[in-house]
Point group: C2
Chain length 161, copies 2
DNA sequence: ACATCTCCTGTTATGAGATAACATAACCTG
DNA sequence: CAGGTTATGTTATCTCATAACAGGAGATGT
């Protein structure tokens, strides 16, 4: 994984959340959990916080390393279980082609995700997927689709300059 | 990965290639390589053969185990390098959400792929992707797309019965 | 023929990503 | 507060993938 190693472009396009914006996002997540009888426990909240603070896809072991406030890492299952929960509730997505995770930037509870991934600077931009054509193809083939994801690799606007 | 462990349905919908059909497919691959100054060397040919013989997505270490004619496994880099070559030429695709590989069933040299993956029987059906809507969204965002892949998870027609 | 370049392969070792299994703790509900 | 359910802590291990380097095989020019 290079993730920007070869790129000189600043990746400030999507800064992570800080301060009030971060608190607000975490509070919104709390509310959504409360509404569905789910629990945003401490490790889950901490992993979501780490994702929201970042402006780039995070590797699981980056999250593990950054988990503890004083620099102590988490144990892998702690973070993987939190990620599983966050994905299940639609708070985070896994980007398969990067083995990395991002907070959901679009809406909640969706099992649909689409990403534009810059091979130069490592940014991953989530966009609103229009899967009409593909869902129609799936239906024609007799499939009942439970979740769907799309990953486009290329170069972002900044890196093309 | 379960890959059919929980499924009682026969997965004979897409049998692997045998005999003449297999030879023909390998010959076609030879021809396409010859036309582009690429070499379908013994290990590359062997890995392609293993993929074509199968009716299900193959894990890298399955290919490694099956590589040798007398049951001796290959070394991991041998198979990973062959897979890299096969992907580059469009003979195979990696299914990211399965960490597995399939032979390309559609056309050649394409860096576009779309799959319907059955969570019950483990089958992965490639279909002709219509990425018009998503490529338009990428262009609007300023991205230059080099490759694109879609993976839909769900239940196939046979497993829904 | 043979020098040389490039591409491919063989091999060893290790790095990166993810989960199994089991014990314990926290939360609900009656 | 008993008993079920869900979440966490911990250890160990498993799966997936690549770095690094030595050697071989094919092409090309002279």
């Amino acid at each position: 994984m290079n993730m920007g190693a070869e790129c000189h472009h600043a990746d400030g396009a999507h800064p992570g959340l800080r301060g009030h914006a971060l608190s607000h996002a975490l509070g919104a997540a709390e509310s959504r959990c409360a509404a569905t009888q789910e629990r945003l426990t401490a490790p889950r909240r901490r992993v979501l916080e780490l994702l929201l603070e970042s402006n780039a896809p995070q590797k699981a072991y980056d999250l593990i390393a950054a988990f503890g406030a004083q620099g102590e890492p988490a144990k892998p299952p702690t973070v993987y279980r939190a990620l599983e929960f966050l994905e299940r509730l639609g708070f985070a997505h896994r980007i398969e082609s990067l083995n990395a995770y991002v907070p959901c930037r679009i809406d909640g509870q969706s099992h649909r995700a689409a990403f534009l991934i810059c091979d130069c600077c490592g940014a991953a931009e989530e966009f609103e997927p229009d899967f009409t054509a593909q869902l129609a193809a799936a239906r024609t083939a007799g499939y009942e689709v439970a979740s769907i994801t799309l990953e486009a690799r290329g170069r972002c606007a900044a890196c093309r300059t």
